[in-house]
C-alpha cells in the first residue's frame, strides 16, 4: 500500500497528467478512495492549477502596447530601401 507521501510527492503530478502505468495508477486510485486527506489534496491541487492559469492569463495593457510601438519606432531603423 502506498503512503500519503508516495502518492503526493511521487505520483500525483503524473496521475493528473494521466501518464502513470496502469499498475501504479490503480494503486494511487485505491489509496485515494481510502484516504480522505489525499482525495482533498488531489482536488485542491487541480483547482490550484486552474486558479493559477486563470489569474495569470493577463493581456498586455493597450497603453503599454502603444508605448512599446513608440519605443520601437524610436530605437529601430525604418524599412530599408
Amino acid at each position: 500500500m502506498l503512503t500519503c507521501r508516495d502518492v503526493i510527492e511521487d505520483f500525483l503530478a503524473d496521475y493528473v497528467e494521466g501518464t502513470l502505468s496502469l499498475g501504479v495508477r490503480l494503486k494511487v486510485k485505491l489509496h485515494l478512495r481510502l484516504c480522505k486527506a489525499c482525495m482533498a489534496y488531489l482536488r485542491t491541487y487541480k483547482r490550484s492549477r486552474e486558479l493559477f492559469g486563470q489569474a495569470g492569463r493577463v493581456e498586455m495593457p493597450e497603453e503599454m502596447k502603444a508605448i512599446l510601438r513608440r519605443y520601437l519606432h524610436e530605437h529601430l531603423p525604418k524599412q530599408t530601401p
Partner: protein, 204 residues
C-alpha cells in the same frame, strides 16, 4: 503563425526591416508580457522586459537558428531577461520553497492540523476568481512563490507548453522541469489552503 510566415518575417528582420516587429508584436506581445509579468510580478519591470526582448530580437536575429522555433527562442530570452530584472533589487523577503511544501510524518502520513489536511476548498464558492477578494488572495499566493518556480508554472499552466518544450526553453532536463513544476504547484496549493481553508472558529 505558420512556419512559412514566421520565416518570411525573420528574413525581413534580417534585412533590417523594423516594421516586421509590428507583426511579431501583435503575435507574441501578450505572450511575452504574460511571461515577463508572471516572473517579475511587476508591471513596470514587465514592460521593460518586453522592450528589451523586442530590441534583442531585432539586434540578434542574425544568431537565431532557423531550425528552432521563434516562440521557443522568445520564451527563452524573455525568461532570462525577467529573471535578471529582479536580481539585485529584491528587497522583499523571499522564503525558500522548502518551507512552503507539505510536511510528512515518519510513517508517510501528512503532518499538520487535521482540519487543514482534509480541507477540500476546491468547490468552495469563495475560490472563484470573479470575486475581487479571491483574486487578491490568489495573487498574493502567486507573489509568494520564488520566481524560478513561477517561470515554469507560467510556461506550463498558462502558456500550455509541454514539459519537453519548457525544458527546451529553460535549457534543463525534462525531469528537472517536472520536479520543479510539481513542487511549485504543491507550494501554491499549500498557500491557497492556508488562505481558503478552515479558519479557527472565532469566539464572539
Amino acid at each position: 503563425m505558420d512556419r512559412e510566415t514566421e520565416l518570411a518575417l525573420i528574413a525581413r528582420l534580417r534585412a533590417g526591416d523594423g516594421t516586421a516587429l509590428e507583426t511579431l508584436m501583435e503575435q507574441y506581445g501578450s505572450k511575452i508580457y504574460r511571461l515577463a509579468y508572471g516572473i517579475t510580478r511587476n508591471m513596470a519591470d514587465a514592460e521593460e522586459v518586453v522592450q528589451d526582448v523586442f530590441l534583442a530580437l531585432f539586434r540578434n536575429i542574425g544568431t537565431f537558428e532557423e531550425r528552432s522555433s521563434l516562440g521557443t527562442w522568445l520564451y527563452r530570452v524573455t525568461t532570462n531577461a525577467a529573471l535578471m530584472k529582479r536580481r539585485g533589487k529584491r528587497t522583499e523577503h523571499e522564503v525558500s520553497l522548502e518551507s512552503m511544501l507539505p510536511q510528512f510524518l515518519p510513517d508517510g502520513h501528512r503532518a499538520g492540523d487535521q482540519s487543514l489536511l482534509i480541507a477540500d476548498w476546491s468547490q468552495n464558492p469563495e475560490a472563484d476568481l470573479r470575486s475581487q477578494e479571491t483574486r487578491a488572495i490568489v495573487n498574493r499566493a502567486i507573489d509568494a512563490l520564488p520566481q524560478q518556480y513561477r517561470a515554469v508554472l507560467v510556461l506550463r499552466d498558462i502558456e500550455g507548453l509541454s514539459n519537453e518544450e519548457v525544458a527546451e526553453v529553460l535549457g534543463e532536463s525534462v525531469s528537472a522541469i517536472k520536479s520543479r513544476l510539481h513542487r511549485g504547484r504543491m507550494a501554491f496549493r499549500e498557500e491557497l489552503t492556508r488562505l481558503f481553508g478552515p479558519r479557527p472558529t472565532q469566539v464572539i
